[in-house]
Amino acid sequence: MTPDILAALQAAKEAKRPVALLTRLSDGQQRLWPDAEVPAPLAEAAAAALRDDAAGNVTLDGEAWFIHPHNPPLRLIVVGAVHIAQALVPMAQAVGFAVTVVDPRRAWATAERFPGITLIHEWTDDAVAALAPDSRTAVVTLTHDPKLDDPGLDVALKSDCFYIGALGSRRTHAKRVARLVEAGHGEAALARIHAPVGLNIAAVTAPEIALSILAEVVAARRGAALAQRAAPAAAA
């Protein structure tokens, strides 16, 4: 790998810009896509590798090329700077997520409770909307307070984020679903919400609940069957 390619890869990472490293395996010659112009079959393979976040191999003119996607990190937006969030944030970072915590209650969302984490004190709908959740983003609401959680969920449901989870019991969630139906969300949209949040591992402590949430986020990301649930019924 040349110093130029290494520097370009690191600059792309710094800028959170997706790039694919293309390596000709016979001699190690490399190109960075889309920075460099490459033949169409390589460009197509690079675009597909970035889209699917999966490395691939392409043969072009009898030469084997390795297509190595370098996507920016997956993002996790946590609504609610609560105790469980304090456990969830460092775990999610260890798994590779770029984490942002949203909570307008400044007493909760402090640098002391969340060292080194991006904290947003705007109202949750404005905050989540400004973060523009995309297909590489998970949104988890943990405040347990409808006036904070619901606006965040409303924005998340209108995005194509890959995971939405909401803390609260089945009963709490049934009421939440009823409110969101009133706000105009349909059944299919509401089925996207994982609630009660997290895999059922009988978690009790804050770190255990954080673990169950993170495990479910990973399962959703990787398409594991256990992340799929039946649609919840709205409360009468």
Partner: protein, 106 residues
């Protein structure tokens, strides 16, 4: 940040500190293989290792190849598989097969 990029950053730091460094990348896997394509192992001339290309089975053999590539500057494409005697020697017991590309960090 994906783990393979962490390895790249570590390798870049070693290189910046004046070390000779080689980078090994899993480019293809078949069957049960613990690390997917794109997984990286960085090796320094002084023997430092970062990352992984397997569950630990072939790292030793890859590090040996990395030292050759550090000396020659020529990249190598290594094949490890159940039909490969070397794979048994180095203990790829999972029954998987994989190809590892080894290059020098210039």
């Amino acid at each position: 940040m994906s783990d393979s990029e962490d390895v790249l950053a570590t390798a870049a730091n070693w290189r910046a500190a004046g070390e000779t460094v080689a980078l090994a990348t899993v480019v293809e896997t078949w069957g049960s293989s613990p690390r997917p394509a794109g997984s990286r192992l960085a090796v320094s001339a002084s023997g430092k290792l970062a990352g992984s290309v397997s569950g630990g089975c072939i790292e030793g053999a890859v590090a040996d190849a990395a030292k050759q590539t550090m000396a020659s500057g020529t990249p190598q494409l290594l094949d490890f598989g159940i039909s490969d005697e070397r794979a048994w020697e180095v203990g790829l017991a999972c029954g998987g097969k994989l190809k590892v590309f080894v290059e020098k960090l210039a």
